[in-house]
Point group: C2
Chain length 343, copies 2
DNA sequence: AAGCATTAAGTTACCCGTAACGTTAGGCCC
DNA sequence: GGGCCTAACGTTACGGGTAACTTAATGCTT
């Protein structure tokens, strides 16, 4: 029989108020430093707060419907890719500095996982959402629209975002790389990446790459999209597979630097000379690149800054400050030494 | 006058119930599939749920005090270190598969940041907490104890955890490395790492390392603890600093692989021969190691698994299943080719 | 001293979902 | 046909905090 429902282990505001001999409301005002109480009352309440070890229950505050919650949902495809862990660090550091918390969601590049996660996170009434990528399921889009919370879509530059967007033009970055490689004299190019069920940023890069290569007089002799994770190993075996096909290929562009390193290692193991016999180009500019003997030709993207900007846009939106709806974070080609220099 | 407080944008259960012409309670029962309603009523309610796009408000459910919340606070020092992003991925994947969400906290290796974060996260009534490291501030420890939520401390093996713990014995791993290096014939060893305000796992590794070296007839000629991040760059410049001191050093042990790569690159740039003239040993076994021409001598730790085990312990505790309080995840020495082989 | 403004409280209602309990209608049995 | 049972649904209260309103006490003015 004994009151089963009264098991909330924490000390409540009511208990603090009772101990201090004031009403809940007065205690609430003191805790929020709202004013409307005497110094004596404030000290008394604060002393009881310390004595009892009172921790406010934010659920109740948000639930009361006045203020928004302080957490922001952040969806990221995976953390195995260093690029995304840097973006996440940029986001969380910035949000954390302004009293917000990150609720993480790893979608593993699938819209189903993203939709499921969005549904769950929205039921917690988050202050906002930061989503990686511009492609969401129809139901997810509906829920996002209906929720009314601020949303920042990152990674892809998106001229018509759900709400706000920060990223880079992946097509252009692939195009620039393609132009760079063809102008360096490579003719028969290859691509090694991974495939997912839906179009994504890497797809856009590949499209831009192909367009530039064809426009530059070269050919994309072979594209390989493996059903696997975009890691070193996949780069290694993907390269083996690509070259085993027998077609002459003098330069390979990879989905990211991790795969490019794997590929580089494979061509080394076959005794091929880089960059004379074969060129290797990655994307993303991993930090380790700068301390390895051979600098990887790659595309630098300010990952950490991307995360920070995303968080700043979110914070500005939460403060009801004016925010530009889209921001281009840019990219920069790193010549490196794994492709021939343009003379 | 107009009801200012009724601005909660979502559709509430009451609205669903009204639309279906039933009471809130009946709608609630249908949504929880609790039984006690006719098929006709169930279909009617579910149709209205779809029509109105109702999303349950979990805040209210948790607030009502019946069920616990579904999120788990996870504190991680930083994500720049690949090791920790892998641990986090292991945790979130496992938690996510069981309907839980990760609330992230990056402590940047400081107890103050951790304490602040713990305070905030506890106010959201999390289902549990996973904390990196065994050292917490006094106030943090008090709050954790008082909260009564399940806690898993990871990274350091901890024989007397606050609640549960999974990790490895860092002292032993440093000891094993020290013994390995001395038995390989190195005499004058150096160490390059970073320092933080408090003792941590890296400190324990260094202690074990020193003990083994001294016991093995060698000497730790110089230890360098930089006030900086443990990255490639720090490894590069730290090595420069270490060797500039002039003391003869024939082998360097680093806080982690990233620093070791930086150091390796520095000694290459000076024309030193690895491993003949100088040995280089890291810790953590970064994935990239396995595809680089030269395999780094390192200590392998199952990072991803560590995260998964931590999540499993948490989940078991939440299900009130029996859980062992501590688990040793182990480590394994990777001989590599950056130190001389023991003959 | 009466009138009015200001400060420092207390009271009430509400947020949304659920436990506990109450009610109604119909079926079944003897 | 009266008593009893049960399925199906409604009513009430509650949790922790806060907005909006009310009340009490104090200070100040003329």
């Amino acid at each position: 029989m004994a009151g089963k429902r009264h098991k909330t282990n924490g000390v409540s505001l009511r208990e603090v108020a009772k101990a201090a001999g004031v009403s809940k409301m007065t205690a609430s005002r003191v805790l929020r430093a709202e004013g409307g109480y005497s110094d004596k009352t404030r000290d008394l309440v604060m002393r009881k707060v310390d004595e009892l070890g009172y921790l406010p229950n934010r659920l109740a505050t948000v639930f009361a419907g006045d203020s928004a919650s302080t957490f922001v949902g952040v969806s990221i495809p995976e953390l195995g890719n260093e690029v995304f862990s840097q973006v996440l660090e940029g986001i969380d550091r910035k949000l954390g500095a302004f009293g917000h918390q990150t609720v993480l969601g790893l979608t593993q590049h699938t819209q189903e996982a993203e939709e499921e996660w969005i549904k769950t996170v929205l039921s917690w009434k988050p202050a906002g959402l930061i989503l990686t990528g511009r492609y969401h399921s129809i139901r997810a889009t509906e829920m996002l629209r209906a929720s009314g919370v601020p949303i920042v879509e990152i990674w892809d530059l998106n001229s018509s975002p759900l709400d706000m967007s920060v990223g880079l033009n992946h097509f252009d970055s692939g195009f620039d790389m393609g132009r760079y490689l063809t102008s360096a004299g490579y003719q028969a190019l290859g691509y090694v990446g991974t495939s997912h069920d839906t179009a994504n940023a890497a797809t856009a890069r590949l499209e831009g790459f192909c367009k530039a290569v064809e426009g530059g007089g070269g050919t994309v002799a072979k594209q390989l999209c493996l059903h696997d994770m975009a890691t070193y190993y996949t780069g290694f075996y993907g390269t083996e597979q690509l070259l085993a096909a027998g077609e002459p290929i003098d330069c390979i562009f990879y989905q990211n630097d991790a795969m490019a390193f794997g590929g580089l290692q494979y061509v080394y193991s076959k005794g091929l000379c880089v960059p004379q016999e074969i060129g290797i180009a990655g994307w993303g500019d991993l930090p380790i690149t700068s301390v390895l003997p051979m600098r990887m030709t790659s595309m630098h993207v300010p990952h950490f800054k991307l995360g920070q900007v995303a968080a700043e846009m979110m914070l500005a939106s939460l403060q009801c400050e004016p925010v530009e709806r889209t921001r281009d974070i840019g990219f920069k080609l790193i010549p490196g030494s794994t492709v021939r220099q343009t003379c």
